[in-house]
């Protein structure tokens, strides 16, 4: 077995735009590593600096601090056209004067490959993104989704060491997007190219990646496997951004070796995992699916329910008015246990509650 090598290392990267009073910090001490052959996602809300970070890796933006290493080599001194990295640009950047096939062949030709060889590669790429019929068209004659697929094909064609994908599926309809996700994962496995996939769609990030970095406002919030990020969010931002959750102000009851016991609204006492809170108060998160809605436990009233096929969302209210979201799996033939207006009771199993650091 090959030792998993580090393909890209982002080491304390800072990026400041502008100078003086008008300056803005786009990236603040970002660090993470991406292993070779990995499918990595970079996740964060709009404006958090994802594109800026990709542009730094590709060489279009200078560093204000820190370093970017590719297989151990500093990239800072290498101009963009010398980096074995390709980008699927967020705004496609197709050449208006080149046909789809010419554009896809561009990278290989620049690298000095012959016409016949590059044409074979172009045909392969066209099949991959299902644009065989569009080979001769100009970008202006393509739909947004087709343009996005051209951008993808042209970045894959030169077979780079690292592929940076800046929200490459955002313009596709749901069905095509799901299909392309699977295609991308397959391509990644087959080619062994390291993918750094940027998205603001947490579902997409969780579905595709082995590991992710979550960013917000230019800072790295968490770094790890999708499961880690979902199950053990470090802070309120991550818990909120990845999936849905309920936040509770909690009073610390005991803080012993075994764990933290806290009391939340309505007097419910739960054991919470995660970092030890310092003071007498803390913030905890409980995922909607970790609640059980039944007849025993904390009394509550059902406000509203939303049927979602595989499961049902209940919006319930505790006796003191605190709203709580509960998600229950639907079982074949079983009617919804509760209707709006019904009284019910909430309970949580062990390990459901999580203490948030900040």
């Amino acid at each position: 077995m090959k030792r998993s090598e580090i393909a890209v290392e982002i080491a304390g990267v800072d990026k400041v735009f502008g100078t003086g009073p008008g300056q803005s910090v786009a990236l603040d001490n970002i660090s993470f590593t991406v292993a070779d052959n990995e499918f990595f996602t970079l996740l964060g809300p709009s404006g958090c600096g994802k594109t800026t970070l990709l542009r730094i890796m590709a060489g279009f933006e200078s560093l204000s601090g820190g370093d970017v290493l590719l297989f151990g080599t500093r990239l800072a001194d290498l101009p963009p056209n010398k980096r074995p990295i390709n980008t699927v640009f967020q705004n496609y950047a197709l050449f208006p004067h080149l046909s789809v096939a010419e554009y896809i062949g561009c990278g290989r030709r620049m690298l000095g490959q012959g016409r016949a060889e590059s044409e074979a590669r172009v045909a392969e790429m066209l099949r991959l993104v299902q644009l065989d019929a569009m080979a001769g068209r100009k970008p202006a004659q393509l739909s947004g989704g087709q343009q996005q697929r051209v951008a993808l094909a042209r970045a894959l064609a030169p077979a780079p060491k690292v592929l940076l994908l800046d929200e490459p599926l955002s313009a596709l309809d749901l069905k095509l997007r799901q299909q392309m996700r699977i295609e991308l994962q397959q391509i990644q496995e087959e080619t062994g190219i390291t993918f750094i996939f940027v998205t603001h769609d947490q579902e997409e990030a969780v579905a595709m990646a082995v590991r992710s970095a979550v960013m917000s406002a230019g800072r790295r919030q968490q770094f790890g496997s999708a499961e880690e990020i979902y199950e053990t969010p470090r802070n309120r931002f991550v818990a909120d951004f990845i999936g849905e959750t309920n936040f509770f102000e909690a009073a610390v009851v005991s803080n012993t070796g075994a764990g933290t016991r806290v009391r939340i609204a309505g007097g419910l006492e739960v054991d919470a995992a995660g970092p030890r809170p310092d003071g007498a108060k803390t913030m905890i998160s409980i995922r909607p699916e970790r609640f059980d809605l039944g007849v025993e436990g904390l009394p509550c009233t059902v406000d509203k329910l939303v049927y979602l096929g595989t499961d049902t969302h209940y919006h319930v209210r505790l006796s003191d008015g605190t709203p709580v979201m509960v998600r229950a799996q639907n079982h074949l033939g079983a009617a919804h246990a509760f209707a709006p207006g019904d009284s019910a009771a909430l309970s949580v199993g062990p390990g459901a509650a999580r203490v948030l650091a900040d």
């Binding site: 279009f60 056209n81 390709n86 050449f95 004067h97 620049m110």
Partner: protein, 304 residues
Amino acid sequence: MAGLAESGGSSSAFAPARLWLMLPSWVLIGFFLLLPVLMMLIYSFLTKEFRGGVIWEFSLASYDKFFFDRGLFGDEPPRIEWTYLGIFWRSAWQAGLATLLCLLVGFPTAWFIATRPARSRAIWLFLVTVPYWVNLLIRTVSMKFMIRDNGPVNEWLMALGVLDAPITMINTNFAVQLGLFYSYLPFMVLPIYAAVERYNFALSEAAADLYASRWQTLRLVVLPVVKPGIVAGSILVFVPSLGAFLAPDLLGGAKNWMIGSLIEDQFKGAAGNWPFGAAVAMVLLSIVLIVLFLYARSQNRVSG
């Protein structure tokens, strides 16, 4: 297929309204362009009147004079007349060179202006147009003053020790070239500026991403994309240079005539020959139209 890309919302519901908007332009063009050109066309087929003016009698004499040499008394077998074709050739050559010079200087200038911050661009553009607030005749005369044998340019060069004796610049092809270049440079800068300003610099990044060097990026991406601006600028410089008469007249002297001077001369004073002047103008117009037509057709072929 080309139409699909370019036709920017030509909804037929608004077409009649648009035609009305065009009316003033049509009237102007009709009265001051089409009608005079038609008159020239007719004049070119009339007979010359000796004190200037024309006799209303059909004649091919003007075109014959342009293309054929039949000897001093007009009774020899026709040979090709090289005098006027030579002037045409020199004009085309001068205009072509002026276009090339304007392009070489205008492109970097336009690029420089278009890549300034939005606020300072207006100032740079203003500076480009400042010399054009002065009448072309005055500018050409002042250039004549500057480059004459004992003019300031020669004096400075001698004062600096670059020259021992004044060099002759006036009444040379060089002077004509300088005049054309200076007269029409903004016509090159402005359209290219407009094209570069619209250029999406993300395309240059995409080219670098595809391993293109800076030179390859310029050649394979930038130039093709801003080509419409380059072509527009080249036409705007080449066509008026071809027919220019101030620069060749004032700076080139009698030996460096261009088409414009030839035509102008035919309409001056008693020695003029109106039908011949009209015929030369028609030949010039035909050449320009043929070139533009060929260009338009090649463009259609490329994008279609």
